[in-house]
């Protein structure tokens, strides 16, 4: 006999009610992670709460200067969004490098950030874009920057009874994402870099967000690298200083997909490539 139960909810309020009733419930959006946890016996039996039918959690829209992406928006929708291709290319590219087209048809951005795998593809571009996670509980809604929301491997600031509504960030056309995987599709990242920046008419960088994936216990905001670039006009020397700073921002380890040595010797490379793509992209 199964020890699981299943329930679909159709509104955020209904979902919160169910979560309050069954604090141990497992929220299911696309199911691409949950099914694996069940198969491997890592998912505690209980309620499987299906939020895929909540219309309010779906879709990509731009309003009041922010791009909002609902938690159950699929990676396929992000990977084919013209809005994101123009206004958040880093995230758009990350979605296009995520797993494979058929997995993207089910996997959601909410699932990707709730699961909080250190090598997840969307957190680095979200960090670089300065994105916030919107969390709703019966007490209300709160916003956390993605880099604060993420705590470590598979650990987040999500509280019991709380639901991820989605993410929001300001458009940033000068953004880019680079991924190294062990093959050209269906590759979990060895490492990723995301760069988002603004520049003035003289080419001086007026704002920038840089983040790395799989180079630490969670997606890392590269504060030192950002500092090396902020208010500067990129030259070979500036870029070299920024590349040098990358080494101080990352905490790579030996793992199944890459060695510490590999990661130290290539993180600067992928940062530089992402930076150049972001800086030279035309709006």
């Amino acid at each position: 006999m199964s020890e699981f139960t299943f329930c679909s909810v159709f509104s955020i309020d209904e979902a919160l009610m169910k979560l309050a009733q069954e604090p141990g419930a497992c929220v299911v959006a696309g199911g691409t992670d949950v099914t694996l946890r069940i198969r491997e016996g890592r998912q505690r039996p209980g309620l499987l709460l299906d939020i895929s039918r909540i219309a309010e959690l779906q879709g990509i829209r731009e309003e009041r200067g922010y791009i909002h992406i609902g938690a159950t928006t699929t990676l396929a929708a992000i990977a084919s969004s013209e809005l994101l291709a123009a206004k958040a290319p880093a995230l758009y590219e990350a979605a296009n490098r995520f797993a494979d087209p058929n997995t993207r048809n089910r996997a959601t951005i909410g699932g990707n950030i709730v699961n909080a795998s250190p090598g997840a593809d969307t957190p680095p571009p979200l960090c670089a874009l300065g994105a916030e996670v919107l969390l709703r509980s019966p007490k209300g809604t709160r916003c956390l920057p993605v880099w604060e929301y993420l705590l470590g491997p598979n650990r987040t600031a999500l509280l019991p009874g709380e639901l991820v509504l989605g993410v929001r960030f300001k458009p940033c056309p000068h953004s880019a994402f680079i991924k190294i995987g062990l093959r050209k599709a269906m590759a979990i990242s060895v490492e990723t870099a995301a760069v988002a920046l603004e520049k003035d008419e003289n080419g001086v960088i007026t704002a920038c967000g840089i983040a790395f994936g799989a180079l630490g216990p969670k997606a890392l905001r590269a504060w030192n690298t950002e500092k090396a670039l902020l208010n500067k006009r990129p030259s070979n020397a500036v870029l070299a200083a920024a590349v040098a700073a990358v080494g101080t921002d990352i905490q790579p380890r030996d793992g199944l997909r890459g060695t510490k040595e590999y990661r130290y010797s290539t993180a600067g490379v992928i940062f530089e490539r992402a930076f150049l793509a972001a800086y030279h992209s035309s709006i």
Partner: protein, 783 residues
């Protein structure tokens, strides 16, 4: 001989072979109707499962299955204490209390459903005593190393004595003493997972009335599977029936774990008297199935300053894992170790070493992919040391028509290697590009082109009898049936055999139906391996078809009131020779044939002529014929990330006679990607004997996006040894690919790579070291 293909297609005058016809099993496969073992269901069927070892080396101190047996839905639990015979063939154990690798099994469970099965497996109480283990060849050969098999007469320490094979030609010591230079190098390869898409599955169906045990399995060799099932149940082969289901890929691998899975399912079926289906998960399959042998190849080469090879010596040490039954591979390895070169003095020693790691077994190429990588790199390094162009060096020493190969076999058949090289070089602009890339200015992205040339002995050769059974019969409606002891593994053998029978009888393949494989219908014909099916295995069905045709000609002659020699069968019609209107359709003759009581079916046995080879002396005629090939790879190396982008692979293969070009091309495309994986992608990560890359999210086989541009050139030649002159291709398709890619990386970066796979992580480490040793050294190392 010209190339096969458009424009200048060879015409060997065949009607039904030498062309592409659709696969005979295609319709079932595109509709989802083809049944694989996991798809089967029988009334009252139980699910079976196995408890695998959590340790690389351990002794079970205590095992108690009482709790498991008492669970609802659990119908049988068998531990190693419950069975009469622990050990199977080739050292493997059906169930065991002494666990020598993580693929070993202590107990098996049969239950009504998946939940009960899991509960049953979890409820078995086992107390293990972990034992010291050895994982590498070095650890296994160290003084005082723990023994994988104690008190075993077949072992010297951890060396598996039975696996020692050698080649001796001339006197290498004498040659080393007199040659101008000696080059010593060591190369290594790592284990490779077959990664067939279908994990092992078997359904055992007992019949307590007749005592017959029937097993349905995706077995690469149903006769071998039958041997294990009969052995563990202690029943005669004649009471053991293995019916092969559609096999979802094998590449040599669906043998040991497949046989054990079938045997374990049969044990549970016998214990419960109910059908038992046993499914192996992907993780279990990767943990417990065999891998391509990891090789350590220690070379010593004697060469004169003019580039002429004088002496070749190699010690090939294989990590065979915990168990093994492939000592014969080392015969093939010893014969092929020096490659397709003529060297007067040769000394080859090959042997396996037991460790507590995953077991090694047959995998596409059966030693050649490793050896071609090692020897081709060795020759490339040697040419560099001599300051010679590496193609000049290779052409100088390559085996030429009328030459004698490394094991002393006089090459009396056609050698079309020079023609293959010329064609491929012209197609790719090889020699110009090679020089141009070697001289390219320093830069982030570097181009390279490389090549490997090779040959492969066709069939089993002197390794073991290459015999097989073939059966052909006609029915009164004119349909034809074939049965063979050789089996379909996905490679297209049913289609090739159908074409061969069509050619022999001269009837359309559309009226021919292939049955099998069912061990109760035709004698054991050995393993479907060594790319022997079409070359040797089809000879028996060809003989059967020839004999059957003679009987049919007699019937037709009777109908024509003529003599058989006055009648011919051509494209489905019997003709009275010289009388244009005297024609009887095949079907009409078959009908009369049946109703007049003529012999309608023929089973023939084919055993190729014996070869004069001495295992003791290490030399002689090793194979009836050889297939030649060359692969040219073009790559771009991103020196900043270590990424190798394989842009183009051009392959030229000597097919002898092409039976079905689409099937051949499919084999080659697949072989290229498998070779690419071996070179730069497929890293099997092990930790304390446990495989950490145990599913397709971590074990990286190529996706469609990793596919290079592949150009296939098929050549035909005149050798008559194989069926209608056909030679092997299934294994040659992959053998030289890794070596060519590694050669291209050398051309791009100047790095001589001595261990594969070299993923971007390893390549970057090598590039970092090269940088540290001075960037200019890279340029110096390039010829």
């Amino acid at each position: 001989m010209p190339q096969f293909g458009d424009g200048n297609k060879t015409d060997k005058g065949f009607a039904y072979i030498n062309r592409s016809v659709p696969r005979v099993d295609a319709r079932d496969k595109v509709t989802g109707r083809a049944k694989y073992a996991a798809d089967l269901e029988f009334p009252g069927m139980l699910l079976g499962g196995a408890l695998f070892s959590p340790y690389a080396h351990a002794q079970v101190v205590r095992i108690n299955a009482d709790k498991a047996r008492a669970l609802p839905g659990v119908r049988a639990v068998l531990t190693f204490e419950d069975i009469k015979k622990e050990k199977s063939w080739g050292y493997y154990t059906y169930l065991s209390g002494r666990l020598r690798y993580r693929g070993d099994v202590t107990a098996i469970v049969a239950a009504e459903d998946w939940h009960a099965l899991q509960a049953g497996l979890n409820a078995i109480e086992v107390e293990y005593q972990e034992l010291p283990a050895v994982f590498t060849v070095e650890e296994a050969l160290a003084e005082g190393a723990p023994l994988v098999h104690e008190n075993d007469p077949e072992c010297e320490g951890n060396i598996w004595s039975h696996s020692r094979y050698k080649v001796r030609k001339g006197d290498v010591d004498e040659a080393f003493a007199h040659c101008d230079r000696i080059i010593e190098r060591e190369y290594r390869t790592e284990p490779v997972e077959h990664a067939y898409m279908e994990p092992e599955a078997a359904v055992a169906v007992p019949d307590s009335t007749s005592g017959l045990m029937t097993v349905y399995a995706g077995a690469v060799n149903p006769y071998f599977t039958r041997r294990w099932v009969a052995d563990v149940l202690d029943i005669p082969r004649a009471k053991t029936r293995v019916i092969q289901q559609t096999v979802g890929g094998s590449f040599g691998g669906k043998e040991e774990l497949m046989g054990l899975t079938a045997a374990r399912a049969a044990l549970l079926a016998q214990a419960t008297d109910r059908p038992v289906k046993m499914l192996v998960s992907r993780e279990q399959s990767i943990a417990a199935s065999t891998k391509r042998h990891p090789f350590t190849m220690k070379y010593k080469l004697g060469v004169n300053n003019d580039g002429r090879l004088q002496a070749f010596q190699v010690e090939v040490i294989e990590n065979v894992g915990a168990f093994h039954m492939h000592e014969f591979m080392n015969f093939r390895a010893s014969v092929h170790a020096a490659g397709v070169y003529e060297i007067p003095n040769v000394k080859v020693d090959v042997y396996g070493v037991f460790t507590n790691t995953v077991t090694a077994g047959a995998m596409r190429g059966y030693s050649s992919p490793q050896l071609i990588f090692g020897s081709e790199q060795l020759y490339e390094e040697t040419a560099a040391e001599l300051g010679m162009d590496y193609m000049d060096f290779k052409r100088l020493n390559m085996l030429k028509p009328g030459g004698v190969n490394a094991c002393g076999q006089a090459m009396d058949s056609e050698i079309i290697l020079p023609e293959i090289l010329d064609t491929l070089f012209e197609k790719t602009g090889f020699e110009t590009k090679r020089k141009q890339y070697a001289a390219q200015p320093a830069g982030l992205i570097r181009k390279g082109i490389g090549m490997a040339m090779f040959y492969r002995g066709c069939g089993l050769g002197a390794e073991s009898p290459d015999a097989s059974a073939g059966f052909v019969c006609v029915h009164d409606d004119g349909s034809v049936m074939i049965n063979s002891g050789i089996v379909e593994n996905g490679q297209g053998m049913k289609t090739s055999f159908t074409q061969i029978v069509a050619e022999t009888l001269s009837v359309s393949p559309d009226i021919i139906h292939f049955i099998g494989a069912d061990t109760h219908t035709i004698p054991d014909s050995g393993i479907t391996a060594a790319s022997r099916s079409t070359v040797m295995g089809a000879q028996s069905v060809k003989l059967a078809a020839e004999e059957l045709k003679a009987y049919l000609l007699e019937t037709a002659a009777m109908m024509f009131h003529a003599k058989p020699e006055q009648v011919e069968l051509k494209e489905g019609l019997f003709h009275l020779i010289g009388v244009p209107d005297a024609v009887i359709p095949f079907q009409v003759v078959c009908n009369v044939h049946h109703w007049t009581g003529q012999q309608a079916g023929v089973m023939r046995w084919y055993k190729p002529p014996a070869l004069d080879y001495s295992m003791e002396q290490g030399g002689g005629k090793a194979f009836p014929t050889y297939a030649y090939g060359c692969v040219i790879a073009e790559v771009e190396v991103d020196t900043a990330t270590g990424e190798v982008d394989v842009k183009k692979v051009t392959c030229g293969h000597d097919l002898g006679t092409v039976i079905n070009d689409k099937i051949v091309e499919g084999q080659i495309y697949g072989g290229v990607l498998m070779g690419q994986g071996f070179a730069v992608m497929e890293k099997l990560v092990m930790q304390n004997g446990a495989i950490r890359t145990n599913n397709f999210d971590t074990y990286m086989i190529a996706t469609s996006m990793d596919l290079p541009d592949i150009d296939v050139v098929l050549f035909e030649s005149s050798d008559e040894a194989g069926t209608y002159g056909a030679k092997s291709v299934g294994e040659p398709a992959t053998e030289g690919v890794a070596a060519a890619i590694i050669s291209a990386i050398k051309n791009a970066t100047g790095l001589h790579i001595r261990s594969i796979p070299v993923t971007k992580v390893e390549l970057k480490a090598l590039l970092n070291r090269q940088n540290a040793e001075g960037g200019s050294a890279a340029a110096a190392a390039r010829e």
